[in-house]
Amino acid sequence: MSCAIEVRGLTYTYSDGTKALDAISFQAEAGKVTGILGANGAGKSTLFLNMNGVLTPQSGQVLLDGQTVGYSRRELPELRRRVGVVFQDPDDQLFSADVYRDISFGAVNLGLPEEEVRRRVEDAMERTGVTRLKDKPTHALSYGQKKRVAIAGVLVMEPSVMILDEPTAGLDPQGVSDIMRLLCQLRDALGITIILATHDMDIIPLYCDQVYLLSGGKMVASGTPEDVFSQPELLRQNHLRLPRIAHLMEILRDRDGVEVSRSAATISAARREILRLAREAGEQAE
């Protein structure tokens, strides 16, 4: 497995003495989607700001493609180029009332020539489907549209890792699947490694290859979604829950004594289980 980004023993304490991150370690595999679960205040946003160089960790390292990242003035621009952060509230990220100009900001900061900036802006708008919004003011966009513009504004820097803080929060169900489909397209087309923080449990088994559970500034669990969902008590202690389908499977297993797999957390997995049970019941009846 090749790691796009790795965090080793990262510790961060705010100036008021709150220890937000306590020796965090995790890895995100290249070209995959890594989920970071955690209740509000678990330290997700602080972790992301450390990985992007907005905050400087007190101890620990961040490694990009196996190389330790420096936080010096000279190295910061490169870190920020390679690790893009899409913030939860797009209104925090979009500072310009002009969509085109906002998207161009990151590319201009890289000191690229004008034609290259334009090429990247057009490309990012095309990929995120906001080309026809470029002549609208930012405040006239819907929440989902703003989110896409925010993603485009990060794409122009051509990052290898894109971190998204609660990408689905505040979106309607259609908007959630649209955004997640967009992220999968970006991963497949550009090979971008995606890290997303969420407490939308139902999207985890659908989109994430690897999951980490962050609690009180510590990593308390990690593994595939199935691994993490096999510890429902741990999730509940951390103000989270199982995906609905996995919860159904748990109840079927524990209360009704039906032999279903614990790892079935998506509709297709549950469907397979139900069909298997039906087939077995049919065979027994014969």
């Binding site: 990220q93 500072f95 310009s96 009332a97 002549d135």
Partner: protein
Amino acid sequence: MGTDRCAYLSRLRLVDPIPKLWFSLTALLVCVFAESVAVGLFTLAVLSGLNVALGGQRVRDVVHFLKVPLAFLVVGCLTILIRPIGEAEALWALRLFGRFRWGITAYYLRLALLVLCKALGAISAMYFLSMNTPITDLTMALERLHVPKLLVELMELIYRFIFLLSGEAGRIRVAQESRLGYQNFRQSIRSLGELASAVFLRSLHRGNRVYAALESRGYTGSLTTLPGQYAPGAWFYPMAAGVAACQILIFFAERSVLP
């Protein structure tokens, strides 16, 4: 909402803002410096006409926006028009309490008309600019004309976040009203104070988050961006010269006709 919505729909939306800025400014300055009723009316007619013809604005919108400052203008001109006139020759006059003579003289009638027409002409020039140029293009133009960058950036940020703040204030207000926060005068004052402090605190927090987001995109102290490609607008310069020439001609024509 305001002229900005028209600007985004304007046919001149994509035209380079700098020629538009110069065009409006020349028309405005000539109109203001020419002490002439006719020039004012001419500017009003031509710039409003071009607003419709070139910008594709609806006549209704142009008239609507012209009406906005009209009330202030009329009140302002009335105070020039009707005044204490002593024993001067008047077109119309009356005595207040049998002692003060108030009325209209020919001189002040002309002055009031002049102010009204000059102001309308100037306003129509400003409307031509603001109804065909989005604010972000205008600030970009100011930056290219070497207005201090700090000032321009502040204008852009204020313009972007004013919508968020007013939205937030509106939501707080609704929330307060739904809990009967504006029942009487005392309570209203109190609720309004709380609203103001809440909006202030929130904007402070938002400021911190915006700064973090800017930094993560490589912000190093200047909000430099690249605007979309503008359509060339150099044809505005000959038009500006033409309009100015007509204005000046009319100015001299009026001088030669009137005593």
